[in-house]
């Protein structure tokens, strides 16, 4: 796997995203972990409502995540606090219980009072330590969650200053050049101050109609990101927009038109152009082809493939059309009701699906082959009947290198037997 040598670009660890529904809590994403390597296409599949889109949106910080960590280029960009709060709660409850037991024993045997008192002190001390530790973590998480971009821009500013110090030294004697350099320095400083780490991850949304502002021209839509970033050079923007339009297969003339004048496939191209112009390292494509016709689907997939090869992009591809995902992705993660149930290389996953849900999902793919279709039997997945998680709790386990399944001990054994027989 050559792309694995390039290192991890995005790392999602124990991501949880809960939504409040009145008194209840909806666990949209529950303890999902995966790594995305540089230059690969990672596919997320699952039925609607299983939390794939929420995962994508949490990564790009459209939601404040409830718990877990997200690392992008080894820097924490998102962090949740719930796990620490739960740890504090647990520790408190634990300590309370212990102290209660000790108190009871003191009442029964008064001679042990001194010993017990010491024990209680110790427990309290330990509790205070854990609380302090966790609270520190919470502050750190909150700081990272809020200020990850600040750190990034601070670094950029420092780099910028270093770079221009040299240049200023060189052109010290030429007032004209010095002024030019100063102007350039100011421009770049502004951009550096405003740039964010998160903008290196861009998103392509599902519905090309709803995600474009109907009152902006294509030029305005595409260049909006650059302007917010602080670029003021209009000629530069114009040139960039034209280049990008050409890259995604549109022409210059389209720049002055409005979104409603385009067909569905072209609108999706505009969406792609808008995200590519920010020169991102990673693109989260949230069902970019499911609203499109078959022939246009192929065009968009080919375009994404070309962009990936040209720009070396990493793509997190969210979709429910399995044949497209299979075609496009290097690795695939299967999600079911907020949990990641299976994760493997795409060929491996389709050759040896292990988890019953993956099997049922694969059995539902329609193919353009009447004889096959007439024989195809859909496997239904019933989680209550399949699994018994009452005692033996499931976790993510690695069956063979690179192939993870969500299972408990008994199931792991069973899967392994099936796998190697």
């Amino acid at each position: 796997m050559d792309y694995k040598d390039k290192g991890v670009l995005l790392s999602v660890q124990h991501l949880c995203q809960y939504f409040k529904l009145g008194k209840k809590e909806l666990k949209a994403v529950d303890d999902v972990s995966f790594d995305v390597y540089k230059g690969e296409v990672f596919g997320l599949v699952g039925e609607s409502g299983c939390g794939k889109t929420t995962t994508g949106r949490s990564i790009i910080k459209l939601y404040n995540i409830t718990s877990g960590n997200i690392y992008f280029k080894n820097q924490r960009i998102g962090a949740g606090t719930l796990s620490y709060q739960n740890a504090i709660k647990e520790a408190k409850a634990d300590a309370k219980k212990k102290i209660k037991n000790l108190n009871i024993s003191t009442k029964k045997n008064p001679e042990q009072a001194e010993q017990n008192n010491e024990k209680i002190k110790e427990i309290n001390k330990k509790l205070a330590e854990t609380i302090k530790k966790n609270k520190e973590e919470i502050t750190k998480a909150l700081y990272d969650q809020k200020n990850c971009d600040k750190e990034f821009s601070k670094n950029l500013v420092i780099e910028n200053e270093k770079k221009y110090k040299q240049i200023f030294e060189e052109v010290k004697n030429d007032p004209v050049k010095l002024q030019e350099a100063k102007k350039k320095y100011n421009d770049e400083l502004r951009i550096a101050k405003r740039s964010k780490l998160v903008t290196q991850i861009q998103m392509i949304f599902q519905d090309p109609i709803a995600s474009l502002n109907p009152r902006m021209t294509v030029q305005e839509i595409i260049s909006e990101g650059l302007i917010i970033k602080g670029v003021k050079d209009k000629e530069y923007i114009q040139k960039q927009v034209y280049d990008i339009l050409e890259m995604v297969g549109l022409v210059k003339e389209h720049a002055t038109r409005y979104p409603h004048e385009f067909s569905g496939g072209q609108r999706q191209r505009i969406g792609i152009a808008r995200s590519v112009i920010m020169n991102p390292e990673m693109i989260i494509a949230d069902e970019p082809v499911s609203a499109l016709d078959v022939s246009i689907q192929a065009q968009v997939i080919n375009l994404l493939n070309d962009l990936r090869n040209e720009l070396g992009l990493t793509i997190l591809f969210i979709a429910h059309d399995l044949s497209v995902v299979k075609y496009f992705s290097d690795r695939i993660g299967v999600m079911y009701y907020g949990k990641m149930v299976e994760l493997a290389d795409s060929d491996e996953l389709f050759r040896h699906p292990v988890h019953p849900y993956t099997r049922s999902l694969l059995s539902a793919i329609p193919l353009p082959d009447p004889i096959y279709e007439k024989k195809r039997v859909r496997i239904t997945y019933n989680p209550l009947a399949e699994h018994d998680y009452s005692v033996d709790k499931p976790t993510m386990r690695e069956l063979i290198p690179g192939h993870f399944v969500y299972c408990n001990n008994a199931e792991e054994k069973k899967y392994k037997e099936e796998f190697f027989s």
Partner: protein, 738 residues
């Protein structure tokens, strides 16, 4: 010959827009066999939805029907009025729309939306059945009199009167039976509700419920319905009365005060024995429903002849048999003789008429083909032929001859269109000349002009004449076929089926569906389409359902009125894979159970492979390929089908996808030649100049591409598809080997 339930012939539809007329559907023809699935595949904008909407008569307001016919049950759906269309829509043909959310009413409860069609349809059919019964009887009488001697006229009158009278008697008996039947269904529905609530541990007002049951039980007294169950019913009545007394509210001043002023209901937990008893009662009632229905057509005659007889006290089968022999002996044999003669007479008369019409059509066609029509002469020509055609229709035939019934109106409207366009073209010419003159004059003066002369919107008169001639051709073909097949007619079978028709209409007149029964049916239907806990779901609003569930509701609504044709317009495009396959399985299952004919519209070829018996591939308003699903997938012939197949990845695809370059053509100015030529890498020179006709590949497989012309160069289909087909065949071979 296959039994066609729906025929679409040379349909042309265009839309008036600000930029010009968009030609959405350009001359397509297909037919739908009974009990099959026809899939229409194409990109968006290829006119597949437009076609299906035209079938249902819900085209957009700016649409123009340029020509063609949609024949269904003796009617041309393009020309029936809104009133008649209402009876067809939902009842005979219904539709599942693409977006389940926007096709449900957000402020009406789900259950209400499902039973709406059931109740409305029932009301309408009750009204019509009686009317149709009388009409057919009048026609039969006329034919009977014509077919026999004058001396027998009195006898015929008497027979017909007897037939009518004993049918009225039968209807009366059946109405009483139906009333009891309906009450029984209502009690079952109510008990089911009660038991469901009890199972959810709700507190219920037991005496109030039992009071309802008892009062409804009072109404179940039809002797035919209760035969053999009287004692059991009486027993349950007694037990229910006991329960009612036992559970009676113990009124004290305190509880009375509470009830009156604080509105506290007197509901209690349901005791076990009440539950058991109601279950037992329910099972008895359900058993009663499954009993065979007596044949009131036979009994009606017996009762009519012997009004005081005690026939009721025998088992139903015995009654049926006895009345059957009685009826045959005393009446039906004579009646059948007359009827047989009448049908023969009517058929022969129609045949004579048809021969005459065929002779006349030749001159009529020559007249229209000459062109240059005059209003008066054209009117005279068609007047004679129309009356001839009307005479040539066999009115006693139950399966209506669509072509003959619609011929006169179709011809008339086509001729009307011809004259309208004639005058309109002249006006356009004048306008164009005037504007050009004005513009030229202004330019000559040296002024700057910022407006253009609007292009001429003329319609070719030759096309109109072609429309007229094609409808004449169709009639001629149909009639010649009929004349050729005259020896194969089974008159005995026809007379039996005519009597069946009378029976059906008579019982249709008294078949009543009340709201309570409709509710129970709707709940059954919801169960059938796979909605869990339908009794709770029945009272919910559409927004409380998920996408897949909503689509199921839409299917349930479409099926509520038991249609003959179901049109599915991209029913699964908005759903994900697992739900999609569930819904497809559901549609397939229901289709097989109810022998539905399905038109399935989609752009996803993968979906089609499982569903369709035959596939029509549409592009730019035309059908480019047409064949069974095996033919389309294993030996596609049109470059567009190739492109569609190669642009979707399957599980073994590794190489770059072959996307179709460009976009579909602008249908305001449809291309002269093959519409797909500009996106087609296999396009020949002729593709840009002339439209290819449908070439026949096999008995069922047609494709419109010049590549199939004998003079065309041999072009193999793309390698990707060849490989895929080979792979599929290998896989199929492997499976067969196992």
């Amino acid at each position: 010959m296959e039994d066609n339930i729906l025929e679409v012939k040379k349909l042309k539809i265009s839309f008036r827009t600000n930029n010009g007329t968009v030609k959405a559907v350009r001359d397509i023809s297909f037919d739908l066999h009974r009990g099959e699935t026809l899939a229409i595949v194409g990109e968006s904008g290829s006119g597949k939805s437009v076609t299906s909407r035209a079938v249902l008569g819900i085209s957009a307001g700016n649409s123009i029907m340029d020509g063609g016919e949609i024949l269904f049950d003796g009617k041309d759906l393009l020309k029936v009025g809104e009133e008649d269309m209402c009876k067809i829509r939902g009842d005979k043909i219904s539709m599942i729309f693409q977006d389940p959310l926007s096709s449900l009413d957000p402020i009406v409860k789900i259950g209400q939306q499902i039973i709406e069609a059931l109740v409305l349809k029932n009301r309408e059919s009750r009204k019509n059945s009686r009317k149709e019964f009388n009409n057919m009887l009048a026609i039969l009488k006329r034919n009977m009199i014509e077919s026999s001697d004058v001396s027998k006229k009195a006898q015929i009158n008497k027979i017909i009167k007897t037939f009518n009278d004993f049918n009225i008697e039968a209807i009366k008996l059946e109405e009483s039976y139906n009333f009891s039947h309906a009450r029984c269904e209502e009690i079952i529905a109510s008990i089911n509700d009660f038991l469901f609530k009890a199972s959810k541990k709700q507190r219920l007002d037991i005496p109030a419920f039992i009071k309802i049951y008892l009062s409804k039980l009072e109404d179940i007294k039809d002797p035919y319905f209760t035969y053999g169950y009287k004692e059991e019913l009486n027993k349950h009545k007694r037990i229910l009365n006991e329960i009612k007394i036992k559970n009676r509210h113990k009124f004290s001043i305190k509880t009375g005060f509470k009830k009156v002023f604080k509105d506290v209901d007197l509901a209690t937990r349901v005791p076990k024995e009440v539950n058991e008893e109601l279950k037992e009662f329910n099972s008895v009632l359900e058993k009663m429903l499954t009993e065979a229905k007596p044949n009131f057509f036979r009994i009606g005659y017996y009762v009519y002849k012997n009004p005081n007889s005690k026939i009721v006290d025998k088992p139903i089968e015995e009654i049926n048999d006895y009345c059957y022999s009685y009826l045959n002996e005393h009446f039906l044999n004579v009646f059948l003789d007359f009827e047989h003669n009448a049908i023969k007479n009517s058929y022969n008369k129609a045949l004579e008429g048809k021969k005459k019409v065929v002779d006349n059509l030749e001159t009529l066609r020559a007249f229209f083909q000459k062109g240059n029509l005059k209003k008066r002469s054209a009117g005279n020509e068609i007047k004679g032929v129309s009356s001839l055609v009307y005479e040539s229709i066999d009115h006693l035939a139950i399966i209506k001859d669509s072509v003959a019934y619609t011929f006169a109106t179709a011809l008339k409207s086509n001729i009307k269109k011809y004259f309208y366009n004639e005058s309109h073209n002249a006006k356009e010419e004048v306008r164009f000349a005037r504007q050009t003159k004005k513009r030229d004059a202004l330019i000559a003066k040296g002024k700057k002009i910022d407006w253009k002369v609007e292009p001429k919107k003329t319609v070719s008169l030759d096309d109109q004449i072609e429309n007229i001639v094609s409808s004449i051709d169709r009639l001629e073909g149909k009639y010649k076929e009929d004349i050729a097949g005259k020896d194969n007619i089974d008159f005995a079978k026809m007379s039996i089926s005519l009597i069946d028709y009378f029976k059906e209409k008579a019982s249709g007149a008294v078949y009543k569906v009340t709201n309570v029964i409709a509710r129970e049916r709707a709940i059954k239907l919801m169960e059938e389409v796979g909605i869990p806990e339908p009794r709770i779901r029945y009272n919910q609003y559409p927004f409380e359902f998920s996408g897949g569930m909503r689509q199921r509701i839409v299917i349930a609504i479409a099926l509520a009125a038991n249609p003959d044709i179901l049109i599915c317009d991209e029913p699964t495009t908005a759903l994900d894979v697992t739900i999609q396959s569930q819904i497809l399985e559901l549609i397939k299952k229901i289709k097989e159970e109810r022998n539905l004919s399905v038109i399935f519209i989609t752009h996803d070829l993968g979906v089609v492979a499982n569903m369709a018996d035959r596939i029509a591939v549409m592009y730019a308003g035309k059908i480019v390929e047409y064949g069974t699903s095996e033919e389309i997938f294993y030996s596609p012939a049109h470059p567009y089908t190739w492109a569609l197949l190669s642009s979707m990845p399957d599980l073994d695809t590794k190489e770059k996808l072959e996307a179709i370059p460009g976009t579909p053509p602008n249908m305001i100015y449809p291309p002269v030649g093959d519409a797909f030529a500009s996106r087609n890498k296999y396009a020949l020179k002729i593709d840009f100049e002339k439209q290819p006709p449908l070439f026949k590949i096999s008995e069922t497989h047609y494709a419109a591409t010049w590549l199939l012309h004998p003079n065309a160069p041999k072009i193999e289909m793309p390698k990707v598809i060849l490989e895929r087909i080979n792979r599929m065949k290998e896989r199929a071979g492997e499976d067969n080997g196992l």
